[in-house]
């Protein structure tokens, strides 16, 4: 699971959960791999994200590096910044671990990079 995906995930479908966002990450196994960098592509994706959630997620798994906590104003043209964002969004993957619902504490296991977000019938 990449952190870009994590930025959109919620456990709100669960009974009794009102926001369910962001999910906490417990990462046991992280893989960093190289992905081709395309600054325009990253610049277009950034405005669609919840930056604070991304930053906290990166920090919680120890990969925040030099990433600024607040989105910089000239992010579209600042190539160093875009490279950092690219790395955080696309090159880091949680391979094994858990996602945790912030309200109920329900665990969603991540195995081989695949979060299992299936809910039991009595949870919805």
């Amino acid at each position: 699971m990449k952190l870009l995906t994590h930025n959109m995930l919620t456990s709100r479908a669960m009974k009794g959960v009102t926001v369910g966002y962001p999910l906490k990450i417990v990462a046991r196994d992280i893989r960093v791999s190289e992905v081709d960098f395309n600054p325009e592509y990253i610049a277009r994706i950034i405005p669609k994200l919840d930056w604070t959630v991304l930053w906290k997620a990166a920090e919680s798994i120890g990969h925040v590096g030099e990433l600024p906590q607040i989105l910089i104003e000239d992010f579209e043209t600042n190539e160093d910044f875009l490279k950092m964002a690219h790395h955080i969004l696309l090159e880091i993957e949680v391979i094994n671990g858990d996602l945790l619902c912030p309200e109920s504490g329900r665990k969603f296991p991540i195995n081989d990079g695949i979060p299992n977000m299936l809910l039991n019938e009595d949870e919805v």
């Binding site: 990449k2 870009l4 995906t5 959109m8 995930l9 592509y41 277009r44 081989d112 695949i114 299992n116």
Partner: protein, 622 residues
């Protein structure tokens, strides 16, 4: 009351033996009906045993008999009863009436004399319940046409042609539930002495044996001289150009059994123009019955519930009970002519009144509890079993899906709901592609190619509202076994989409031929054998005991006989069955219109699939 009626009131000799027998019968009936006892000795209350509204007697006629006898009395005529009550001021008055009437007075139109009993009490009212509201969806427009126009319409008809007469005994009107009982008894009692009702059809022939219309076999169109009616309908905002007209002529004593116009044969709104005499039509649904007086020149408009769920009929009688200021009375019928305008439906009925719908009845009904069991055993488990084999056979992208993906701009966040082996997740570095699926086996296959996927149920997508730019869901929603679940899945997709975001949905079509072209699915079946016509009786069924369901098993590469099917998957020597709901023409669009936050951009047919492109609205317009 006419003077001739007055002279027709006859005084005759009383036959005591006969009248005692009649009184006894009335005694039991009254006890049963109203828990009122008859009295041996005179009281101030009288029951006229055979002088009720149901026997066709008018209030005024009885008043003509009573007025000369006693100065003050109350006449109570309960609706739906063959008897009535007279409450006098004293026992003496009552005795006077009894002696004068009982067994001695014969009213016009009656076979025998009136019989009278003393009773302990009377029913408190005429049972005049306040007019129940019309069934929902029923409207009556009085004076829809002028008397002049009515005359012209009646003048166009020539009923002497014997070919226009229908033998009512051969009618086989489709009935639903308890109404069937009503119909069969009505037929037995009434139609035996009714012979011919005049019926004329234009546009399309309504076949009474089957209650169907053949839309491919038009007959003489609606004559030019009736076109002004369509103009009037248009003026009142009716949306159809009516293409089927049935003209009925009813003579007193005739009626029509309760029926619902077959859903799949005619569109929603049915119009009926009444000419000539005023008759009562009744509407029935379960234990509710509502009488509707149809005055001459009035237009009856049946839509929605009134058209789909209420039966309507006319009692075979010579008079109707109508309400007046003094209470209910009867009104004799004259000849009534009705012009019924209907729009022939091409396709299936999608009404919300499934219990009354012939389209819905052809389908196996699956309830919500059975649905998740069914999908678990006949979708989820099967995909786990066949994941590898399925993936090996699913590589080629469908060209129109590829076209949709290619139209996405750089930096698009794309989600594939039910991504399977991820055949749409590969390629294009400028779109961020995510997939999700229920099958862990297929997700494992996706991960081997480093696709970004997760496992979830499409009824509960784990993505935030307004978070994704574009979504595809190809050949997924047809695995959901109730309409609620299919709607929920599409609603989830729309929820996750950003405003102005688009999704593309493909579902398997019931119609495997469109515009005279066979789909690839049928064509590939023809390579090995000639395509077969469906033989309904030759279809195998699978009994699914845990869901208490039986579903037909589809023969691969043939047409679908119904929309809920089990489709075989063969892997070497192993056989599996997958559940599919194949969509009919118009069904996917109809489903999508139920989602207020989505607008339909395009609906198309693509190689045996129905496809829709939706766009999420900027904001929901309340």
């Amino acid at each position: 009351m006419s003077s001739s009626d007055k002279t027709n009131i006859m005084t005759i000799e009383r036959d005591d033996r006969k009248s005692i027998r009649k009184q006894k019968r009335a005694y039991h009936r009254l006890l049963r009906d109203m828990n009122i006892k008859c009295a041996e000795q005179p009281t101030q209350h009288l029951m006229i045993c055979n002088g009720g509204l149901v026997t066709g007697i008018k209030r005024e006629t009885l008043q003509c008999v009573l007025d000369p006898l006693i100065s003050k009395y109350t006449l109570i005529m309960p609706t739906g009863k063959s008897y009535c009550f007279v409450t006098c001021n004293s026992k003496e008055d009552a005795t006077c009436v009894y002696n004068y009437i009982h067994g001695r007075i014969k009213l016009p139109g009656q076979n025998g004399p009136l019989y009278v009993c003393y009773t302990e009490t009377v029913s408190t009212t005429d049972n005049v319940v306040p007019d129940p509201a019309f069934p929902s969806g029923l409207t009556l427009m009085e004076n829809f046409i002028t008397e002049e126009q009515e005359k012209i319409l009646l003048g166009t008809l020539d009923w002497d042609k014997s070919k226009d007469l229908v033998d009512l005994k051969s009618l086989n009107l489709m009935e639903y539930g308890e109404c069937f009982l009503v119909l069969t008894t009505t037929l037995a009692i009434v139609w035996s002495h009714l012979k011919l009702r005049g019926v004329k059809h234009f546009g399309y022939e309504f076949e009474y044996e089957t209650n169907l219309v053949n839309p491919d076999k038009p007959i003489e169109p609606i004559p030019q001289e009736y076109k002004f009616l369509q103009t009037l309908f248009d003026k009142h905002g009716h949306k159809y150009t009516y293409d089927q007209l049935t003209i009925n002529r009813y003579i007193p004593g005739q009626g029509i059994p309760p029926h619902i116009d077959t859903h799949s044969v005619f569109e929603d709104t049915i119009l009926s123009l009444s000419l000539g005499s005023t008759w009562v039509m009744y509407f029935k649904k379960k234990d509710q019955k509502i009488d509707v007086l149809l005055p001459a020149r009035s237009l009856l408009i049946m839509t929605g519930e009134a058209r789909y769920a209420w039966t309507h009929g006319i009692n075979a009688r010579y008079s109707d009970v109508i309400k007046t200021e003094n209470g209910p009375t009867t009104q004799e019928r004259g000849i009534r002519v009705s012009f019924t305008f209907r729009k022939v439906r091409r396709g299936e009925c999608y009404c919300d009144f499934k219990n009354y719908c012939d389209t819905a009845k052809r389908e196996t009904f699956i309830d919500d509890k059975a649905a998740s069991e069914l999908e678990n055993s006949y979708v989820h488990k099967v995909y786990e079993e066949i994941a590898n084999h399925f993936s090996e056979t699913r590589h080629k992208q469908w060209p129109n899906v590829t076209k949709f993906l290619e139209s996405l701009e750089e930096g698009t966040l794309l989600l594939d709901v039910g991504c399977g082996n991820g055949k749409y997740l590969c390629g294009d570095q400028n779109v961020y592609k995510m997939g999700c699926d229920y099958s862990s086996g297929l997700m494992g296959i996706c991960r081997k190619q480093n696709f970004e996927v997760l496992q979830c149920n499409c009824l509960y997508l784990p993505y935030k509202d307004d978070s994704v730019d574009a979504i595809i869901s190809i050949a997924v929603i047809h695995h959901l076994s109730t309409e609620e679940r299919r709607l929920r899945a599409i609603s989830e997709i729309v929820r996750v989409l950003r405003p102005k975001g688009k999704c593309l949905i493909y579902v398997w079509a019931m119609e495997q031929r469109w515009n005279s072209q066979d789909s690839f699915y049928l064509k590939s079946g023809k390579k090995s054998k000639e395509s077969k016509k469906i033989n309904q009786s030759g279809i195998n069924h699978e009994r699914i005991s845990e869901c208490n369901l039986t579903l037909p098993i589809h023969e691969n590469r043939t047409d679908f006989p119904q929309s809920n099917m089990l489709i075989p998957w063969t892997k070497k020597s192993e056989h599996f069955l997958r559940y599919y709901h194949v969509f009919r023409d118009g069904e996917i669009a109809r489903l999508c219109t139920k989602i207020p936050s989505a607008s339909i951009k395009e609906v198309y047919y693509d190689q045996g699939n129905w496809c829709v492109i939706l766009e999420k609205c900027m904001e929901i317009i309340e």
